[in-house]
Amino acid sequence: MGSRLRPSALGTYAVLFLIFLYGPVLLLPLFSVNDSIYITFPLKGFTFNWYQQMSQNDQMINALKASLKVAASVSVIATTLGFIAAKAVTRFALPGRALFVGFIMLPLIIPSLVLALALLVVLRKILGFELSLMTVAAGHVMLCVPFSMLILISRLEGFDRNLEEAAYDLGDSALKVLVRVTLPLVWPAIVSSLLLCFTASFDEYLIAAFLSGSDGTLPVFIFSQLRFPQNLPGVLALGSCILVGSVILVTLAEVVRRRGGPVKESGALVS
């Protein structure tokens, strides 16, 4: 019967799809404990050597630290800017609103390569900045603000403006309205924005490659290490650690978000 076959066909497709999606990712932890520098089957034996090697690789640890620093500051700065822009766009009758939003969204469409080149020319040749982690962060902020703004606009549009007016009416100053009503209600979207900007910055390669000076971020460092096969298992070990770290982070964020109280009336929790 067609109607009975259909769910199982769909199920098979779903399973295949998930394998396609996550299979390669799961190979990472697998080979990170394999006792061989070559990434091929069959597996040789179990070892924690690569993790030890990873922790002793100062260059890699430094690159990791650099990436974490950049990603953390980018997520905070981009989310702050995104929130301010989203608030302006959703709460005030801005003349030329569509144009304004369009300009902020532009980095989503412009190829990163063009963006990176343009930024390099501007920062280095015209403004005369030394390339550093600061310049990388600046480029990433530009890349992340559109994401943050999109997430926050949908949340701000989703909740009743009367709530802010009610707070104002009950004696709050504009700042108090923000702290007592707007931020608590937008909180889930802020968490998503922070997470998204963090990951977007953390694994960004092109802009980081163009704009970093002597101390590169992790993706730039890893790419440079691909030439040395003996270093590869260490990179896999690091990759596995990051994988575990991000799973924990996302789970935590989800728990925090759910405890932060779903806003039933406001529709979707996160855009």
């Binding site: 709530l163 007016e165 009610a166 104002y168 009950l170 009503v181 039933k264 406001s266």
Partner: protein, 369 residues
């Protein structure tokens, strides 16, 4: 009434949104402790006027005085007004107690004083055990009460209500109407109530301003509005009304005599101080008309002959639709169902006579347009 009597004085106020005149040169006053309603169809400017009282909008022209103080440049958070929003605007991240205490936390009050005030407010809205519920655990009526308590606990000089009963079902709405009225009388605060529901306005208000297209048509008590509308628009908006156009012929013995074309001459009791032009409209309420299967004996009453076209059964009363000679619009006649039987279905299609006394009708100037 002079400006001094007015607790709220709205002086030549207009509000423009672009080129749209949402509120068009309105002036009137509201007395202290009054339950005052702004009544009109959607888009008539009543909500805009209310939002100007709250301070969310500022008048483009004119000035609003509350308790003698001009309000221009005074933000909502420093006005002695509080608002109950149409959708209640209960803070979803706070429980009932925190919602009610919200405004009090902006004042120099000890925690004990706030707790005390919140307890009293919860008692007032008959929800003493609901303090720690979250808003999504409340019914529509309960949210409405919490919104009311949250505003009243701030002891405003004026409470502004923006169609607060609109989202409730009919039965609950009628209960809340009564409750709201009693509450207003017990706290003695001036209420300004916006609604498009005429029944609601008539039941609750001391006075009602009927608005249309940004203007105020008439401000009066419920009874005055119903019995003595000052223009065709008010007469048609409140309740149902039969209109007969005609020309004013003469006035004798306190009665206006109107040439109503095919209806012949009809009489309407003159109202003191009313200025009438040549073209007039007679307005008669359906329940003021008497029906008869046989011709009335000649009398002072106005009599019209017609044919019973249809009957609508409304439970407590019947509406009869009567086609009159040369009259395209059937006249409506309402009759209370005092006894269970007494249906007159057999009369449908037959000739019938209508009659009303000159005192029951109102004479209005015909629409000038």
């Amino acid at each position: 009434m002079t400006a001094q009597d007015g607790f709220i004085y709205i002086k030549s106020v207009s509000k423009l949104f672009g080129s749209l005149r949402a509120v068009d040169d309105i002036s009137f006053t509201i007395r202290e402790g009054e339950f005052f309603s702004l009544l009109g169809p959607s888009g008539c400017g009543k909500t805009t006027l209310l939002r100007m009282l709250a301070g969310f909008e500022y008048p483009t022209e004119g000035e609003i005085y509350i308790d003698g103080q001009p309000m221009s440049g005074v933000a909502p958070n420093s006005r002695a007004t509080n608002m109950v929003f149409q959708n209640y605007a209960i803070f979803p991240h706070l429980d009932v107690r925190q919602n009610i205490a919200y405004g009090l936390r902006n004042r120099q009050m000890t925690k004990a004083a706030i707790d005390d005030a919140v307890d009293k407010a919860l008692h007032l809205i008959k929800m003493p055990s609901y303090g720690h519920r979250k808003p999504h655990q409340l019914s529509g009526g309960q949210r409405q009460r919490v919104a009311l308590a949250r505003a009243l606990v701030c002891q405003p000089k004026v409470l502004l209500l923006d169609e607060p009963l609109g989202a409730l079902d009919k039965k609950l709405r009628e209960e809340m109407q009564l409750e709201l009225r009693q509450l207003q009388q017990s706290v003695g605060i001036t209420f300004v109530f916006v609604t498009h529901d005429q029944e609601e306005a008539l039941t609750m208000s001391d006075r009602i301003a009927v608005m249309s297209k940004g203007r105020v048509l008439q401000i009066d008590t419920a009874q005055q509005l119903y019995e003595e509308p000052n223009c065709r628009e008010v007469a048609g908006f409140i309740g149902s009304m039969n209109f007969i156009d005609g020309r004013l012929l003469s006035t004798s013995h306190g009665d206006h005599v109107v040439d109503a074309g095919p209806f012949g001459q009809l009489r309407v009791t003159a109202k003191e101080g009313q200025v009438l032009h040549g073209n007039v409209t007679i307005a008669v309420r359906p329940e003021k008309i008497t029906l008869s299967e046989t011709p009335f004996p000649s009398s002072q009453e106005n009599v019209v002959k017609g044919r019973l076209a249809a009957r609508a059964y409304l439970g407590d009363r019947n509406h009869y639709y009567v086609e009159t000679v040369h009259n395209l619009v059937p006249m409506a006649v309402a009759r209370q169902n005092m006894i269970r039987e007494g249906q007159v279905d057999h009369l449908v299609g037959k000739d019938i006579w209508l009659s009303w006394s000159p005192t029951s009708a109102v004479l209005l100037n015909a629409a000038s347009s």
